[in-house]
């Protein structure tokens, strides 16, 4: 049987072998995990290496930073990187390789190069951002419009964090007296579980998204700031695509994490995030007051303008009316003058006409009278003449008649031998008036003879 080792003997051998073959200090690139301090100030952690593609752990080693080193190293690292020495960091550390019979294999950190971590963090952020950009989601949350008023806030935070209380106090004591509604969605904000915890909280907020105007992801400041989860692709991708605006306030000053970049708005601390919401609501209130002022001003201006329009109108009305009346009045006056003038003219013309007519009439009358007088005189003359002539003719005629009468008087006739035959007192002018036997008287110039008729004849003698 071969000789055997007790465990301590074997471990001693291993220890010797390691010390012999790895005697110095070496720069190690690895990711920190399970970083924890203890009461005596020592820091215990694990170093891991993950497969670049599968992210599965392919190497692991226990690490220790003794208190005397850690007291110097931790602040130095945080100062240089803005990042607490914590789990999930890619670090470049100088280590000695140790093996202890009782405690086993461990790497003792003696120095650290923060610039490597800075570079790693930056490289990781760039990688994640590039991926988000390729996914087309990088600026989605930024493009969201926060619905006013921004006073309903879903808060993702650790319920016990001081930052959460600060946030609430700040909101509740806002100087404008605005009412804020906060609802806590608890999440683990630190360590390995924080990524999935925050994503789970976001999913819960999503179920009630109609109730909220925004999401605040806040984390109390505190000494340690393990920011690696806020550079996580999955969390950033969730936040970027979240339908409500996300405001980040994860309590660090120097670095901007991927979460800050994809978030709608970044506040440095929870208090700053509260101030952002207060400012938004204040702005909303100011806009409202401005609108109210504008309403009052515009309404007053409107009414004033209406009044002045009315005044202008009424003035114009009065002015135009009086102008119109004046014009009408002067027109009427003018017309009156014209009418008078025309009337006078017409009257004059009529008078002249009348005078003319009178003159003409007088003249005509005079002429007519003269003519008539002349005619009358003429008539008178011719009448006198006619009368004279007529009288002469009459005298002549009468003389003739007188001669004739004298000539035919019975005495003259009887004297010339003519007789008158009378029967029964009547002159006989026809033989037929006498019959045989009748007694007739024949008158002569100097007496009468009575005779008896013996016969008659009808024979004409003249």
């Amino acid at each position: 049987m071969e000789s055997s080792f007790s465990l301590s003997e074997l471990n001693r051998q291993v220890r010797g072998a390691i010390r012999d073959s790895l005697p110095g200090a070496y720069w190690l690139r690895a990711e920190t995990s399970d970083v924890r301090g203890n009461q005596s100030g020592h820091c215990y952690l694990e170093f891991v290496e993950k497969d670049a593609h599968t992210q599965s752990i392919i190497a692991r080693a226990r690490g220790i930073i003794w208190a005397n080193v850690y007291r110097m190293l931790a602040p130095f690292f945080e100062k240089e990187t803005g990042q607490a020495f914590a789990s999930g960091l890619n670090v470049l550390v100088r280590v000695t390789v140790d093996f202890h019979e009782l405690y086993g294999f461990s790497l003792t950190v003696v120095d650290i190069d923060p610039t490597f971590t800075l570079g790693e963090i930056a490289r990781n952020r760039q990688r994640v951002l590039k991926q988000l950009e390729e996914d087309g989601v990088l600026s989605l949350n930024k493009e969201l419009v926060m619905e006013a008023p921004a006073n309903r806030i879903a808060v993702i935070s650790s319920p016990t964090a001081a930052g959460y209380e600060d946030f609430k106090d700040q909101l509740d004591n806002n100087p404008g007296g605005f009412r804020f509604y906060t609802k806590l969605f608890p999440a683990v904000m630190q360590g390995d579980r924080s990524e999935e915890s925050i994503i789970a909280a976001l999913e819960k907020v999503y179920q009630y998204k109609e109730l909220f105007s925004a999401v605040a992801i806040i984390r109390g400041g505190g000494a340690s700031s393990d920011l690696s989860c806020f550079d996580s692709y999955h969390l950033a991708s969730n936040v970027a695509q979240f339908p409500l605006p996300v405001v980040s306030g994860i309590g660090h000053e120097r670095d901007i994490t991927v979460l800050d970049i994809v978030a709608h708005t970044r506040g440095k601390t929870p208090t700053a995030v509260a101030e952002i919401f207060i400012a938004l609501v204040t702005k909303t209130a100011t806009e409202l007051i401005e609108l109210q002022e504008r309403l009052v001003e515009e309404t007053e201006a409107f009414l004033l303008k209406e009044q002045s329009d009315l005044l202008t109108l009424s003035n114009a009305l009065v002015h135009r009316s009086s102008l119109f009346l004046q014009r009408e009045f002067s027109t009427v006056q003018e017309l009156t003058v014209n009418v008078r003038h025309l009337f006078r003219q017409a009257l004059q013309k009529e008078m002249i006409g009348l005078q003319q007519i009178t003159v003409n009439l007088k003249h005509s009358l005079r002429q007519v009278l003269k003519e008539e007088t002349t005619a009358l005189q003429q008539h008178h003359i011719s009448l006198q003449h006619s009368l004279r002539e007529g009288l002469r003719d009459e005298l002549h005629f009468i003389k003739n008649v007188e001669q004739f009468v004298q000539m035919v008087s019975p005495e003259n006739v009887l004297r010339r031998g003519y007789t008158l035959s009378i029967k029964n007192g009547k002159v006989i002018t026809s033989s037929k008036d006498v019959q045989k036997g009748d007694t007739i008287v024949t008158r002569f110039k100097d007496g009468s003879v009575d005779s008896i008729v013996t016969g008659t004849s009808s024979k004409e003698i003249v």
């Binding site: 309903r152 007296g177 609802k183 309404t299």
Partner: protein, 64 residues
């Protein structure tokens, strides 16, 4: 007045009213109604900023 109108809608309506008054395109009778509506909207908006919405508060408190 409907309590269902949200802040954004209320503000939009308010802005439209103010703009229409600014444009001077209103009748005086309509103006009175518009100003009344605007006052209601302002009161509603202010209430949203300062007064507690009991309904919302209860919803948030009842949330699991």
């Amino acid at each position: 007045m409907s309590t269902k109108i949200n802040y954004t809608q209320a503000k939009k309506e308010l802005e439209e009213i103010v703009q229409s008054i600014e444009a001077g395109e209103l009748d005086v009778d309509v103006l009175t109604a518009k100003v009344k509506r605007a006052s209601e909207l302002i009161a509603l908006c202010k209430e949203r900023l300062t007064k507690t919405d009991k309904e919302l508060q209860k919803l948030l408190e009842d949330m699991a």
